[in-house]
Symmetry: C2
Subunit: 425 residues, 2 copies
């Protein structure tokens, strides 16, 4: 082992006899632990550079190199990579030489393989922690954490058309972000076969983009729920400016308190915040408000199989978030006499959406830096890049589920209507 | 109670002192039990006539009347309606005055309501029995029971194009059975994006219609499994006649023994026979045979929520059959690293398919009577009518699920290709 280490850094040879945890030198123990780290995450083709700035590991087909800038960073990462990589990257105690997205894709693929067997699997599972409870007050804290960063922050990198902070739909991969977000809203509206004058209850309305779009283009009446104050203030202002305020009721309340009855229930990008323990509640809300011949659509990030959210994203970016598997999502429908009509998985569209967001984010980092520190800028970069990697490697899915009550036969005969009008928007 | 009964039949007044279970007379106890039966099944708007040929119960908006021709039939039905109605109807100890499908729809709807609460719910659940085990030898017995009745029997009422004993796809409700079965095969092929020269493994091939169609119209190589001797003999003959035998390998074996590797895995109408305990096995078979960029489709009858098959159909028509809920079906995919791309529910298309089958069945009852007794003819009529009612009332669903391996990005960008070509077949 010594000779392998020596080839990288002569200055380390003598250091082995010095205390282990001090100094800028790299010890045999440091090198051994770096190798061990690679074993644990499944030996992806990535390089390792330690704080002496020398390449310790340089595999064939090396995709990118992870650069540790101090010993503490290496030791901290080892205790829980899933949780600590994000913080260490954000504070630049770890940097990545090379492209961040391919680096993360490579690590995700290797960890996915390793999670299937043996000791490392147990370790990886032990790193996982439970999401924060989404009781009504818990949800309020969790949503405030993420969505009340300031509307200007999101305006810098979301689309100009409808300010959609959810997966777009690209009729072709070449569509622009604005085209794709508009296409997504039409795609959802067509799946729901919206008709003028119908009433729609929306659970989780973001900045109100979908509500305004449906009111304007489909002539429906919206009742839209959200618990983020900043988003709602923005949503109400915009609706007033566009003369749509008589058609839209924005309600600052939890979706579980939804009242009235509706022809259509829609929820785009909220289920991620609901938590697996509350799917039956959500189904009961739908059952309470939906008219006998009503229909609904739930659009959510999901998984191929149950797995907790990445610990760092859950802690720093999206408290309480949990992307469910389809099996888990069925707890919304099966106990509440709802019938699933259609499920579409468009995960690669989310990767494309995130690429567009990342492009704009990078164009605006100067402006963002005026309001947030460098740690924040790096954290959000990592979050966007990590999300791209999660969708391209199949770690995450994006499901749109159309449903109706079990007893109605007033359902679309085929799905061709969704595609006949595509591109005519 | 006596006066109520008296108004129907004077001859019964004196009979109350005679032994309860003999004679053609109708007793107060008989009348009370008939009323009780209606309570248990949720008081649907159907009439009751007993063996004295007088109308005992005649509700407003009466859909049809159930006519008991002997006391034993009433008492037997009371012990387990789910199981015994079929046998009693088949042997004409119960007949239905009026249309059979609306009668069954009405009863299904009422029983669905009643199954949600209270004592009757427990009773209805107690009637349910477990399906027969689908071990390899169990499957052989179960499949023989249903599919080896003679190919001529099925030829009399299935489509002439591809002899499909599964749900058709009607681009419009006006399509003929032949048009709809052809459209179904194209619909499946388009969802799978079949390309010439690709290899397809088919689990459960029936009379080989799908295999011949895919080989002929899409130029693929089929390896098709079935354990029904009669079906396979028919399938091989037909393939030879059409000069397709070099493209299709029909294998008399259980799907669990499938070997080789394939670009596409397809199973249309077999999952109903697999049994919920074996979904993981099926997923493992797929995982074993599917190439890295392969994709698959499973087409099956299902449920909105878990529930056993109707006991009579399970006993007399489809031994071992179990239509799973989507949640249950996910056991095929989630433990085996498969990714669900698309789910379509076309239950109303199965109601239409069954209506077409029933029409032809009724046109051929004279011929069928030459080979089978009247009991059989009535049993199959009930099975077809009961199935129509199960799909129109939402008791049963029809799911088509498209999937790929979790790691591949070689998946369709949108689903528009399925609809662009519709009608061009």
């Amino acid at each position: 082992m010594k000779s392998q280490g020596d080839s990288f850094s002569n200055q380390n040879v003598s250091s082995d006899s010095r205390p282990l945890f001090t100094g800028k030198n790299v010890t045999a123990m440091d090198r051994w632990l770096a190798t061990k780290l690679m074993d644990i995450v499944g030996n992806p083709p990535i390089g390792i550079k330690l704080w002496n700035d020398q390449q310790l590991i340089a595999p064939a087909n090396c995709v990118a190199t992870m650069h540790f800038h101090d010993r503490g960073a290496l030791y901290k990462l080892l205790t829980n990579p899933d949780l600590h990589f994000g913080d260490l990257y954000s504070s630049a105690r770890i940097t990545v030489d090379g492209e961040l997205v391919p680096f993360l894709e490579t690590v995700y693929r290797a960890m996915d393989d390793v999670s299937k067997t043996g000791f490392a699997s147990k370790l990886v599972n032990a790193w996982q922690k439970r999401p924060r409870p989404n009781s009504m007050s818990g949800s309020l804290d969790n949503i405030h954490h993420h969505y009340d960063l300031g509307n200007e922050f999101y305006e810098m990198w979301l689309d100009d058309e409808a300010m959609q902070y959810t997966c777009a739909y690209y009729p072709t991969p070449e569509a622009t972000l604005e085209e794709a977000q508009v296409a997504k809203l039409h795609h959802v509206a067509r799946k729901l076969q919206l008709k003028p004058g119908e009433t729609v209850i929306e659970a989780g309305c973001g900045w109100g983009g979908l509500a305004r779009f449906f009111a304007k283009h489909y002539g429906v009446k919206m009742r839209s729920y959200n618990i983020s104050k900043e988003q709602l203030a923005y949503a109400r202002d915009k609706a007033k400016q566009e003369g749509l305020d008589s058609q839209i009721e924005f309600i600052e309340d939890d979706y579980r308190n939804a009242t009235g009855e509706c022809d259509v229930f829609v929820s785009v990008g909220m289920l991620e915040h609901v938590g697996a323990d509350h799917y039956r509640d959500l189904g009961q809300v739908v059952d309470r408000v939906l008219k006998p011949n009503g229909r609904g659509l739930i659009h959510s990030i999901g998984r191929n199989k149950p797995k907790l959210m990445n610990a760092w994203i859950e802690k720093r970016i999206f408290p309480g978030a949990y992307p469910p598997s389809l099996k888990e999502m069925m707890d919304i429908f099966e106990p509440n006499d709802l019938s699933v009509l259609d499920v579409e998985n468009i995960r690669l569209h989310y990767a494309r959406t995130l690429e567009h967001w990342l492009e704009r984010y990078e164009e605006n980092t100067d402006k963002i830096s005026q309001h947030f520190d460098e740690n924040f800028v790096r954290a959000w970069r990592l979050y966007l890049c990590g999300s791209i990697a999660a969708f391209t490697t199949g770690e995450l899915q994006l499901f749109q589920i159309v449903f109706s009550r079990a007893q109605t036969n007033d359902v679309p005969w085929t799905r061709s209507h969704v595609y006949e009008q595509e591109g005519q928007s």
